[in-house]
Symmetry: C3
Subunit: 431 residues, 3 copies
């Protein structure tokens, strides 16, 4: 009976949540859906390829988690990522994008221009937004309730992330981002986050942390040798898909073909190499760390990839790789925070590091292109971290005391695959 | 001895088949191989990327089948897809493309234009044609004879599909497709199938159905709990490769960079989300259905992806996702038709639904771009379904009474991997 | 103690090696880092996509090896590929590219032009250079020392490959490659290797051979039935990633969008089909051979893919597929050379065959575009084979007598995963 009541509560919260989000949509959504009619077919092609590459990264998120959890939660990892991508598509289409960008798609298609540039721009930016639940997913793996977690993801993609996105890149960036904003007039340069070290990754990582803390560790996590990852090959497969797709994430952040920058590409490459090599040395050739070290470098490079000298990019990436290994061990072993995929050190810390690094290595004095200011970077990065921590604490806190955020112990023991999806990863073997 | 005779028969039929196909090539093939000399290098790049993405989808077909069959048939799934891609390349190059498009490549390369646009156009359209055997493969899995099935695929790719393609998109489309064709003058609009919901997917799915019926179910399929899929992760990997590549399948169907449409991209995205979410709810969070639901949405969207409002695309995709779950269960459990990957509901039914949907949601009254007619859509979709059913019944029927279409029971019991390929999927484990 | 001394020796050699390489950098590196300032944003986009596709191929190299080794060396395969990619990035950036192309990146970024074309060109060419250790990795798998092998790879990527690249495509190609070079004046045509059959693949394959011979076969390799591959699905996954990415490797070798050639794409396709089908028949439907046969065709087509008639490309690929099956069996079974992934027949022999084939099927008399000469092809191909054999014999020979190149028998028995990386491929299963 308690379970049925819980189910009803979940649905109730879901409905209330949707109503809240939809009213926000009405409040913030711009009436004007004209978009950029002048953007050429080449720009549509360019942005489309970026969007598709980021879509492929979500397959990477799925397999990174498949490999990093126990076999009894592999199906759950896969279903979470593809479903949350799909939920995010709807929510960001209806609510998030209108808030962040001031464009609604609920207008006749004839108003969206000949080649539909705004549509592919949405696709690209959805790829960024949908990283939020994909990042959280890795932290709360193996014990979070499917639907409560999906609802939290929906609130973040529909409301929290779009506000952060709108404040830095989009609709309300006159305050922080634009030339004449407060940061520019106070410190000499606006906040700079080229491809989302802070806006996407730090937001995701710091949103995940309260969820991880509120959930608590997996059962038997801190008994001796109780939990091992299921598959390094699947983990590496996920990492490769993320690495390859990341060049779309970063390069196509230019926004138009004319603005493409080979510097962004080589800096991403150097940061990936730096992160990999640093993780290799610090972890003493541990495969999980090495494949995540590449990602740590790529998380950190996003913000300033258009500014750095390639040698600086290498350093930024290497610091990120080393940070990841050190903090993952500290977090999960010393502090006993059960962050399954290490999403707080990977996306949270390396993302924040990326934002701050742009204020250091982006300076002309260090070979960068300039136009950045350390204090602007520090301030906005800190602000976003605080907003993310607060938002997640409220959302997951409320859910914890109402509908519950965690599988019951029996469900967790048999694994989410059987408990939630009625199937195992390899049903034939199990049979 | 019976086996050797069978082998001889197969080879005989193969030779006769090739002769028939080659004579068709002579009959239909155009002498003029000049192609489109004016298409720019950007168009070549654009189409090439589409072609490569569709090639990646074939890797997806392979892994979707690997995950959905038992482990003893994984190698067979992999070999079928890569070999039938290779056979299709040859046959479509020599026979199919000349029939469908009136261009032969058996001319000096100097005649094909500076940048070789016709060559990449062939590559893209081969990706479509090769879907036919890849779709059938999933239906006849675990029991069809390798060579007989390959020969049937060759006939479809060389003859049946090119006739359908030529009638709708290509060489002989004055009847159905062009502005002045019979459908346009009778009903006000020609048949519209932008990216092949009907021409590719329905053709494949309805070609598969007679093969599945003529083969009969796998041994012990309808004994209790006898057959389970081998690997949800591989199934999901295949699904991701198909999803990502599909944006090449749909967007590059524009045929030239100038004609690129962001609307096609966002509609594919919305249909994928709709299909996923519908399958999630109807199947109660079943991983196999969810990952196929995304594909169902994508199958259905192809035809009208250039016409719909994104909200309509969501609806078209969601209906497809729900249809797939419902019909797969009905087909395989109630009707006891052993369609291993559900290719009839997925490609056959959702493809036909896509063709018909273009005649509904493509209308201006429903927010679409117009220029379509429900009756044109219904008529041609039905015609293609009937042609596919008839062609497959004749081909597989003839093969069944002559060379045989099914592995012998011992081969089926030990699995096609050992029986046909002399190796298991994980030889080290087996050893 | 012997082990610690060995560790010290390795580090010493590493340092000396780096000093040698860095002095080469000073000696050969051009001062002028201006690059091609005029190349348009479209060219940057075009080359970037090629580079990203080649990056994806390295994921393919990783999984091809994962599937082809025993489970106890899967992690090692994964770590080798991603780490050697990262090392190669650094070394080719600092030393290799300056040697081969006369451009150093150790200059202010403002000097590298608006869109940074030189940066993406570096990324693309790094993808080629990093194939060298990735190819060798497959030959020396399951028994080579991680660090010694990495150092050898670094020397090849930093020095040997750049000299070959510089002599044929780059900095010093006035001798061999340019219109007025010795080959052109002596035989009528310079050496032609459009996308690296010889420069990349033959170099890699013939560098691998001495390493394989100096290492000797894996323990118990030639006892009866002692060693089986671990996973055909992972092998096939690697093959698919390589196949798909190869269209970037070949097509983007054009170097600029304007020079794109659909002929290169269709010839790659035909060679892949030819290689697959030939391997299918010669190996009697063996899955490992079929998926490597496709690669054999693609290795062989690189050199002349811009010259052949598609029918000739089919023949070149088919010969490569047959060659691979025949020579792999001869090499590993008859000659008892334990080339784990068959990199000598695949890259070494099929690469050399590709170089020679360009001098045959590239001729106008055989339907090609002409401008090639059989003797130029034969001469330079032979020279590169000899240089690679010599360089590898010296490097691996020196390492063998100093720091050692092979895991000790205990490490090899338990597998490199546990011995080097302290983790197994599927830790949860093992536990």
């Amino acid at each position: 009976m308690g379970k049925r009541a819980g189910g009803l509560c979940t649905k109730l919260v879901l409905c209330v949540g949707l109503v809240v989000l939809l009213s926000c949509s009405v409040a913030f959504g711009a009436e004007d859906g004209t978009g950029d009619k002048l953007a050429s077919s080449s720009d549509v092609f360019f942005i489309l390829i970026g969007a598709v590459m980021i879509l492929a990264m979500h397959g990477g998120f799925a397999f990174l988690e498949v490999g990093s959890v126990r076999k009894k939660n592999q199906v759950n990892a896969l279903n979470k990522i593809i479903c949350e991508w799909s939920f995010s598509t709807l929510i960001y289409f209806l609510i998030g994008y209108p808030i962040a960008r001031g464009v609604t798609f609920l207008v006749p298609i004839a108003q969206m221009g000949e080649n539909g540039f705004e549509y592919v721009k949405f696709f690209l930016l959805l790829g960024f937004a949908a990283c939020i639940p994909a990042i959280i997913s890795g932290g709360v793996a193996e014990r979070a309730k499917f639907w409560t977690n999906a609802l939290a993801g929906g609130i973040f993609v529909g409301l929290v992330y779009p506000l952060i996105e709108g404040a830095t890149w989009g609709n309300f960036n006159t305050f922080l981002g634009a030339e004449s904003g407060w940061l520019a007039t106070t410190f000499g340069a606006p906040f700079h986050d080229f491809a989302g070290s802070v806006v996407v990754h730090a937001t995701g990582g710091w949103l995940a942390l309260p969820a991880i803390l509120l959930l608590g560790p997996r059962l038997k996590r801190y008994e001796e040798n109780a939990i091992k990852v299921s598959s390094i090959p699947f983990l590496a497969l996920g990492s490769w898909a993320l690495i390859v797709g990341w060049f779309g994430f970063n390069v196509m952040s230019a926004g138009s073909l004319e603005a493409i920058s080979g510097l962004v590409a080589i800096n991403s490459l150097m940061a990936m190499a730096g992160g990999t090599i640093a993780a290799l040395f610090v972890s003493r050739n541990d495969a999980g760390f090495v494949h995540n070290g590449a990602l740590a470098g790529l998380v950190a490079i996003c913000a300033g990839s258009d500014l750095y000298h390639p040698i600086a990019a290498l350093v930024v990436g290497a610091i990120a790789g080393a940070l990841f290994v050190f903090l993952f061990n500290t977090e999960t072993e010393k502090w006993k925070i059960d962050d399954v995929l290490g999403v707080w050190p990977l996306h949270g810390v390396c993302g924040a590091w990326g934002g701050i690094a742009a204020g250091i290595f982006g300076l002309e004095a260090l070979g960068g292109k300039g136009g950045v200011c350390f204090f602007s970077q520090l301030l906005v990065t800190s602000a976003i971290v605080i907003v993310a921590l607060a938002a997640s604490t409220v959302v997951y806190g409320l859910f914890k005391v109402t509908v519950g955020i965690r599988l019951d112990p029996h469900e967790e023991m048999i694994g989410a695959d059987l408990a939630v999806h009625q199937i195992e990863a390899c049903p034939e073997e199990a049979f």
